[in-house]
Symmetry: C2
Subunit: 317 residues, 2 copies
């Protein structure tokens, strides 16, 4: 495939072990990490290339499994030492995680270096890592046609200037509602989105946990509900798998910032559909610990639930 | 108008003074009460008759004002003593009120007695009052073709059996999310709705504050967002004005339980549109203290915002 035709997504972020406690139970050292969730979700729509670092304790079997899908794991470095390990818990309010411990391990010195092929990826997703590193990735991926990023409290308060510099260079920010309020200093979703769009990203997606997601663009707001699953086991990774399906959908459709300029109405429609794809993917993620549900997810299940969610927002008879 | 043609809504509940503190400011002894909010909201769509009790301190000017709209206030009794007075506050999380004090006053001995004309109302809304009284109203309003009710924590825990008895006789329950969880014993919206529908109401509307409302019927779920206002001044009355516009919309359309049987698809569509009408009305209510915003609301503003909300959930270019 020539670089002109390349439609893959480059995703840079963490691969991790997670130890998680939720009202539904406990999972010890299961596979987590932002690009783990992101890439599996995106791979239902489009090829993905992941860049990250794991320790020698990371199961190579899982990387092999990812490779059996449309996921290029050649950018995953295996470093001497242990894999990043996050421990967290959720109470009855499943919308917010409480961090119990964070062992960065090999992730502490993560410094993404892209291969010549990865530098040509038209779609780039900068998962929730140090904004300085996010920026460094962007400087290498010079052929990007659409860049999305995520962030969190830790960087918003710890590296505000660096984060603002990154935001000046991304098209899309995908962020949690609470973090959108923190970043903007507003406690109102319309004002927060307005504020953030003025920082750079022309598209802002605010994730609202069990209440869905809101999209803000030049065309206004689109308010999408979460697909209401009957049993939420573990919300970890919902946001990253949301972003994976969202970006995957756009990449599959060939939608990038040139479309935004050429045909704003169609761009808006694709963004809205991408948000719904994200909501549906996230709803599967939360049905089990780790990426377990995604690993056994079929295209048929995906399509069925997408139709069901469309029906839940429809006003036609 | 003969009783066969009557399309008015009978609403039974409270008229009150509210003293409210929110992050936006404080309001002392302003006009509140469930049927106050409900009737003004409903009157944008359909005639309303209210039944309640006030003390001698209640401004008759307000009752006169209501009468200038499509609101029949002949069922409002003026009793010796003081009007019901509620004091509450909201913190940054505007979704939940904290009650500071409740002085029932003349409301303590409220015992609704319907006039012969009120007994013929086809649409009945039982606002959040003692379920025993709700039941007593229903026994008098024998020609009802559609009954909706609301309730709250106080009755769910204090009079669970009486509330269940009322629920066996209503078509629609409109209730807050937290109260739906309390009533059902479930912490999941799908399961809660399923549980409540099995108690009697074939239609359950779960109000989610700034996240909108969810409708549950035989046809499944409909998930509607709140209209995102830029400045929430006071959430008091949002739920009652939601219910007012919801019932008003159905009454205006002539939709009742016979339609549910005759043309379920059309019934479902009208319910969904009624939910959106409710969301829009609630969004105006919260823009000011008391019923101030509703009193100056124009039909043009209502229609403009309805269109705006429709655009925010639309998937057509």
């Amino acid at each position: 495939m020539s670089s002109a035709q390349k439609t893959s997504i480059l995703a840079v972020g963490s691969l991790a072990f997670d130890t998680i406690e939720t009202p539904a139970g406990k999972a010890e050292s299961v596979l987590g990490g932002s690009v783990n969730y992101f890439s599996i979700a995106a791979s239902f729509y489009s090829p993905v290339e992941i860049v990250g670092v794991v320790g020698e304790d990371f199961p190579t079997k899982h990387l092999e499994w990812l490779s059996t899908r449309k996921i290029d794991t050649s950018g995953v470095q295996i470093a001497p030492g242990k894999t990043f390990h996050w421990a967290g818990s959720y109470d009855q309010n499943l919308n917010e995680a409480r961090t119990l411990s964070t062992a960065l391990n090999v992730f502490e010195h993560f410094n993404p270096h892209l291969s010549p092929s990865h530098r040509k990826s038209p779609y780039v997703f900068l998962a929730n890592i140090d904004p300085v590193l996010q920026r460094r990735v962007l400087e290498q991926a010079r052929e990007h046609r659409l860049v999305a990023c995520d962030s969190m409290n830790f960087w918003i308060t710890g590296k505000p200037e660096e984060l603002r510099e990154t935001l000046r260079h991304v098209d899309i920010l995908s962020i949690n509602e609470g973090e959108a309020y923190l970043l903007s200093g507003e406690r109102n979703i319309m004002k927060a989105a307005q504020h953030i769009r003025a920082l750079g990203p022309s598209v802002v997606v605010i994730k609202r946990g069990e209440y869905g997601a809101a999209l803000f663009t030049q065309a206004g707001a689109f308010l999408a509900p979460a697909y209401p699953v009957e049993s939420v086991v573990d919300p970890t990774g919902a946001g990253d798998s949301f972003a994976g399906a969202f970006m995957g959908y756009l990449a599959e459709a060939g939608a990038d910032r040139t479309l935004a300029a050429k045909d704003p109405a169609h761009w808006e429609l694709l963004l809205r559909r991408a948000v719904l794809a994200g909501c549906v993917m996230a709803s599967f993620t939360v049905e089990d610990f780790s990426v377990h549900r995604l690993l056994r997810l079929t295209n048929e299940e995906l399509v069925t639930r997408q139709r069901a969610l469309m029906k839940m927002i429809s006003l036609s008879e």
